[in-house]
């Protein structure tokens, strides 16, 4: 037990580059595997959280764009959604990485008035930014399709009633369309969030290299499988971690679903059905 505590101190934040630099090579214990793989999970959670949060807002913009009558907004939105939904995420990672590598190695200074940030293009070739951008675009495209479907299935009577009361424009969107859209889209959106989280496991297996052996959960799992020739330990561990986080997502999104449907009778509330119909 005490040796496991030392392992935790050494490797708990190894994926962030904190702690012992050298990965275990011989006499690998279960504890080391569990701790290091868990450490890698930090990256999966980071990618999942940030991509879902920013992707959500961009998806709504895309969905509104796709629903717009004017081709000026509709066509770019449709093309973006088609590009990211029609091609494999794995290839998108490779393509984006090679594209980012070709960018001139320049630094860009962003002057925000009160603070100056210097961004470097080489950051784009690192998974934490480059991979995140691809994931963001990908989840935005998939979610946009979900939100678009939800906007289309809002009962027209609700919109007509709103217009009859003189609610138009921004008010109509914010007070009528927005709540209904979220409510209708939420069960599917929960699935999207789960499968986006699963997709984060792909990043370090595509073009983006793991810098100084700081990778995600699956990266360490395959490291151990290679080193010990025993896949029966690391992969179930990584599966266990993913299942736990999936359950947390279901609980959190389930609570949000209840909140969105709080005006309905308990019997009428749509349940979160975890269908697999909308994954990538």
């Amino acid at each position: 037990m005490s040796s496991c505590w030392i392992t935790i101190q050494d490797y708990a934040f190894r994926s962030l580059g904190i702690g012992e630099r050298i990965l275990p090579k011989t006499d690998i214990t279960i504890c080391e595997q569990a701790v290091l793989i868990g450490s890698g999970l930090i990256w999966n959670i980071y990618f999942g959280l940030i991509a879902v949060f920013f992707g959500f807002w961009f998806a709504i913009i895309l969905a509104i764009g796709k629903n717009n009558r004017s081709a000026l907004y509709r066509i770019p939105a449709i093309s973006f959604i088609f590009l990211f939904r029609g091609s494999p995420l794995f290839i998108q990672f490779f393509f984006a990485y090679e594209l980012f590598v070709l960018l001139p190695k320049l630094g860009v200074t962003i002057d925000l008035g009160f603070i100056t940030l210097s961004a470097e293009t080489r950051w784009l070739t690192r998974a934490w930014l480059g991979g995140l951008i691809v994931l963001f675009c990908n989840t935005a495209a998939y979610s946009a399709e979900i939100f678009y479907g939800a906007i289309r299935s809002i009962p027209s009577t609700e919109l007509e009633a709103a217009e009859a009361y003189g609610i138009t424009g921004w008010n109509k969107f914010w007070r009528i369309i927005w709540p209904s859209m979220l409510r209708l889209a939420w069960p599917s959106y929960t699935n999207e969030a789960i499968f986006l989280f699963h997709a984060t496991a792909l990043i370090f297996f595509s073009g983006f290299p793991a810098w100084r052996q700081s990778g995600d959960a699956l990266y360490y799992a395959s490291y151990f499988a290679d080193k010990t020739f025993n896949p029966f330990l690391p992969y179930p561990i990584v599966a266990g971690y993913f299942i736990s986080v999936t359950l947390i997502i279901i609980v959190v999104f389930g609570a949000a679903n209840q909140y969105l449907n709080r005006h309905l009778d308990v019997q009428q509330r749509p349940k979160l059905k975890l269908s697999i119909n909308l994954l990538r």
Binding site: F82, G86, F90, F95, A199, L202, T246
Partner: protein
């Protein structure tokens, strides 16, 4: 390939490009597209079979069978498919070698797992170290195919069990009232009717399967991703056709290949859906008849 390409260093412009795109390695690259299509057309029926067996298992009256089948079709909800793609081929490979080791080399008493090594006797290796390269490739491909069938079988199991639930209860109850046995209800009522409900889910699954094929790269198969990296990497003047890093163009090509694949599939599946909706008592079916609502 062509006589004109005998001396690549003297070529220029379009002819250079033509010669470049017809080298032996490029034909291997084009061949790998066929590998992807073969995988698609083998994995689709196999996973449908796996899914069908799993769905029948879920409805079984023996509880261990039910439990295993439920666990199997639900596993894909909690665990990323990549984990299975990495795990299944490795585990299967060890399983096969272990069984062969026990049978062929029963005289060897040392354990197979020794510390951090997995050692089986030479005769039990799969494929044998003396066999040709294509045998190794084929073996890797078959392991990959099984991994795809297992993962997508679980997805198909989800779709099919949903479709079976969607068949109106009145149908099965009527059949039971007419004295059909459980088996007869399943084969004569449930199975023929479920396909209409399963088609949207299965079309979706086909799209996902297309988009999962580049994962072959992770399984050690020389697939399109492998060749795109291989051919696209910058080539110095030591090579017959020197060029800078062109991987981005190769991956752009792959991106377009997949976009075309999904676009064509989408069109075909939409047609199929329309055809199957004819005469169905669903909204799509009645719209075809010219009724509204």
């Amino acid at each position: 390939m062509f006589d004109a390409c005998a001396d690549p260093s003297s070529l220029e412009g379009t002819i250079w490009l033509m010669c470049y795109l017809t080298t032996a390695k490029h034909f291997a690259f084009y061949g790998s597209f066929i590998v992807v299509l073969v995988l698609l057309f083998c994995a689709a029926p196999l996973s449908l079979l796996f899914g069908f067996v799993a769905t029948s298992g879920v409805r079984s009256s023996i509880w261990p069978v039910r439990l295993i089948a439920k666990g199997y079709i639900n596993m894909v909800r909690g665990v990323p498919d990549v984990v299975f793609f990495l795990f299944v081929p490795l585990a299967l490979d060890q399983l096969f070698e272990f069984i062969r080791h026990k049978i062929i080399c029963s005289h060897v008493l040392e354990p197979v797992w020794r510390g951090t090594d997995f050692i089986v006797c030479k005769a039990a290796k799969l494929p044998l170290s003396t066999s040709d390269l294509w045998v190794h490739q084929l073996y890797a491909f078959i392991l990959a195919l099984i991994a795809f069938a297992i993962v997508f079988g679980a997805f198909a199991g989800n779709v099919l069990s949903g479709a079976m639930k969607a068949v109106p209860r009145a149908q099965t109850e009527t059949a039971a009232a007419y004295g059909f046995s459980k088996k007869q209800v399943f084969w004569r009522i449930l199975v023929p009717q479920m396909w209409v409900y399963a088609i949207p889910g299965l079309s979706n699954l086909w799209m996902i399967l297309i988009k999962a094929t580049p994962l072959l790269f992770l399984l050690g198969v020389e697939d399109i991703v492998y060749w795109a990296r291989e051919l696209g990497g910058s080539k110095t003047s030591l090579y017959a056709y020197p060029h800078p890093d062109w991987r981005v163009y190769y991956f752009a090509g792959l991106l377009i290949f997949y976009l075309v694949m999904t676009w064509v599939s989408g069109k075909v599946l939409a047609k199929l859906q329309l055809k199957l909706s004819h005469g169905q008592a669903t909204m799509a079916g009645s719209e075809l008849q010219g009724y509204s609502g």
